[in-house]
Amino acid sequence: MTSTRPPLPLLIAAAAGALVASVPLVYLLVRAGEIGLDTFADVLVRPRTAELLVSSLGLALAVCATTLVLGVASAWILATVRLPGHRWWWVLTALPLAVPSYVAAFGWLSTVPGWSGFVPAWFVLSAVCVPYVALPVGAALRRADADLALVARSLGRGRWASWRTGVLPQVTPAAGAGTLLVALYVLSDFGAVALLRFPVFTFAIQRQYGSFVGRDNAVVLALVLVALALAVVGLERWVRGRGERRRIGSGTGRPLSPVAVAPVPTLSCVAVLLLAPVVAIGVPVVALFRRLAQGTARALDPADLLDATVSTMTVAAGGAALALVLAVPIGVLAARHRGVVVDAVEAGGFSGHALPGIVVALSLVYLSLRVVPSLYQGMIVLMFAYAVLFLPKAIGATRTSVGQVPPALTEVARSLGRPPVAAHRAVTWPLATPGIAAGGLLVMLTAMKELPATLLLRPTGTDTLATEIWSRTSSAAYGAASWYALALLLVAAVPAFWLSRPVTWDGPR
């Protein structure tokens, strides 16, 4: 039973967290307010801006279309075709999630030197993003009631028509929401498009920021990007909301079961399943090892690698700790209470979901320069950026963990003589802590892979694995970059993948 009126201290703590999380967005708006309308108009009507818009939207659309087709096909194959080692095919399908887009791009760049423009950006991002569609559709198919299609056939519909009326509507919301997450990913992505030299908004914002005259322009472009991202988030919410209304009954219908098919179709199915993992991981990892084997002019200094690894972990851990401090009250509030205020607080906490890393970084650069110049290029600003960007993960983990503790337990504790706070300490806290801690760890691991905000905000003289990869690929020191890329995959990407697996596979729970 969810009580409606949250205790005041909790509400205040959560609202404070949400306010802090909206600082980058709010300051971006404040900063934009200081820009003259003529600059605004000037930037917006520039042909360059229209080009950026076409490139960004074009890339997002192309990647969305590709991942939609490939993702639904993969999920459908996994749900209906019996393959040896079934579970491992699911792991393989999810694996591209583990690869930061710039590592995949780097791998392809060292395989096909000089490859640049729309095609490679589309190619690499599509492969990396397929799991965003395949996993939720797969989960929906596992929940889907196969009997609906049988009922449709028994009522005289043909094979295709009964699939369309019986199965398709059950997976459409998942496919739609997944595809919009892909759109958000593509709009926010910086690493792949920058390495592959395809000018989209994120890339242009970083360029403008780098040139002294372009800082106002960067803010205007960032606002346009935020507007696009918010539109995508809004669409995603809408699609998911419709999906939830569509689900009826207890959901205990018979799920689809995989059947054996002839060898030739099986092989073509395997080819479809292999496509994204090979492009996203197979080729890049092979390229990294090949580069290592070739050796480099400048030998790798193990001490540098160790330094970068340690500072990566330090900043990321700080960001994760900060994220937890902000997220726990919001997550608890969202798990236990309902209402307009609660929704608003939760939405504030989720603002990082719609903010591309480059935008958060840009806003925080200006804010720290203006308000606390001593903090500019300090660790704390970067940690704060991580906290805002990945706060949704921490809130989600808290909300799920606390939500899984039945309120009846704390009521029993209270009836047995524990005051409210003590009841939570004795019951809710020990039960929810493991899940919340795992959320914090996930934030840390994700932050270790973050590139654009790290580039803009890292303290002078501090190098992280991500920035080392970046600087070495820019200077074509591919051999040395390979070490850092492998280290990143080893310490951050793969653990993050394993940690987020159960949640990602079954969709949001």
């Binding site: 009521e411 029993v412 504790a413 009836s415 004795a426 020990p430």
Partner: protein, 343 residues
């Protein structure tokens, strides 16, 4: 002495009233069942007594303390009222002994150990003290939940449909065990249930709740034989309610079942006869069997009378088949239902 006294309690959610003036008494060391259909407000009443839902009017007294009224609101943890929720709700991170000891915080260590041991022996799970809750069966979990609720010797134990999630055989056994355990411990308990059999077979007293009010509170036999109105009669079990015209000194009434002995308020216009009071035989009013429902130990036969109405008759074993002409007589007095109160 009265352990729980609920007087004129009103409560609701937002603008929707759920409790509309509930009166209820539970005497010390007694088990009272609060029986009502779903949505009648019994869960809300339990939550107000436990301290999880505020009242908007009326008063709740536990022992000699007012715990809830317009002026006072004793927080849940100071009420000395414990609960046994529907699913048991054992603390999943604590073993059986720690669950039972949860409400004994602040007591001497040896006292706690003794009390836990005693409680686990009471519920017959002494050898399971180191088990985790998920290693127990549903019935065992409920026993631990009861031990946990009884351990701090509360003034009142609230049982919230504690048997509803168990399968039928286990349920019967556990019901009787729980009643014995409560008796041996001398506990005062309020049992929430929507199951008539459960209420009638377990409780010292049954309170019938409907639409946010307690309609009638009495011992099970009285309640079954002398319900306050036709709705209560039907809610408690199969009923035959027929129009009646009281004759003589109010001890006889003319009905479609013949002129029969009656008791109850003499202004009654209808009379309740339970199906087990009707007998098929060679004498009595004539009728035709319309359909029968076979239950194994007995059958319920629906008999159409000459005036076109239908009455239910309980007969041992199998009943005659549909279409058979029968005669029936009433054994024992019918109960005159008070005027009004019916729907």
């Amino acid at each position: 002495m009265t352990a729980l006294e609920i007087t004129g309690v009103h409560a609701g959610y937002g603008d929707a009233p759920v409790l509309r003036g509930v009166d209820l008494l539970v005497a010390e060391h007694r088990l009272v069942a609060l029986l009502g259909p779903s949505g009648c407000g019994k869960t809300t009443l339990l939550r107000t007594v436990a301290g999880f839902h505020p009242v908007t009017g009326g008063r709740i007294r536990v022992g000699d303390r007012v715990v809830e009224s317009a002026a006072t609101r004793v927080p849940a943890h100071r009420r000395r009222v414990t609960i046994v929720p529907q699913e048991g709700s054992l603390f999943p991170h604590l073993d059986v002994a720690a669950n039972v000891a949860f409400g004994l915080k602040g007591r001497d260590r040896h006292d706690v150990a003794d009390r836990v041991q005693r409680m686990l022996e009471l519920v017959g799970l002494a050898e399971h003290r180191r088990r985790q809750p998920h290693e127990l069966s549903g019935g065992q979990q409920q026993r631990v939940a009861l031990a946990r609720a009884l351990a701090p010797e509360p003034d009142l134990v609230l049982l919230d449909e504690p048997f509803s999630s168990l399968d039928a055989q286990l349920r019967d056994q556990l019901r009787q065990d729980v009643r014995d355990m409560l008796r041996r411990e001398g506990a005062t308990a309020l049992l929430i249930t929507h199951d008539q059999q459960e209420a009638l077979s377990l409780a010292d007293e049954v309170a019938i709740m409907r639409d946010g009010r307690v309609r009638q509170q009495a011992d099970p036999a009285t309640l079954y034989a002398r319900p306050t109105d036709a709705w209560t009669a039907r809610f408690l079990g199969d009923s035959v309610v027929v129009d009646a015209r009281v004759v003589g000194a109010g001890t006889r009434a003319e009905t479609v079942l013949g002129t029969i002995d009656v008791t109850g308020p003499t202004d009654g216009r209808s009379v309740l006869v339970r199906p087990e009071q009707l007998r098929l035989g060679p004498d009595g009013v004539p009728g035709t069997i319309e359909r029968t429902v076979f239950h194994g130990h007995d059958s319920l036969a629906h008999v159409r009378l000459v005036d076109g109405s239908t009455v239910a008759v309980r007969t041992p074993g199998a009943a005659p088949g549909p279409g058979r002409e029968v005669r029936l007589v009433v054994v024992g007095p019918g109960w005159l239902l008070p005027e009004g109160g019916d729907d």
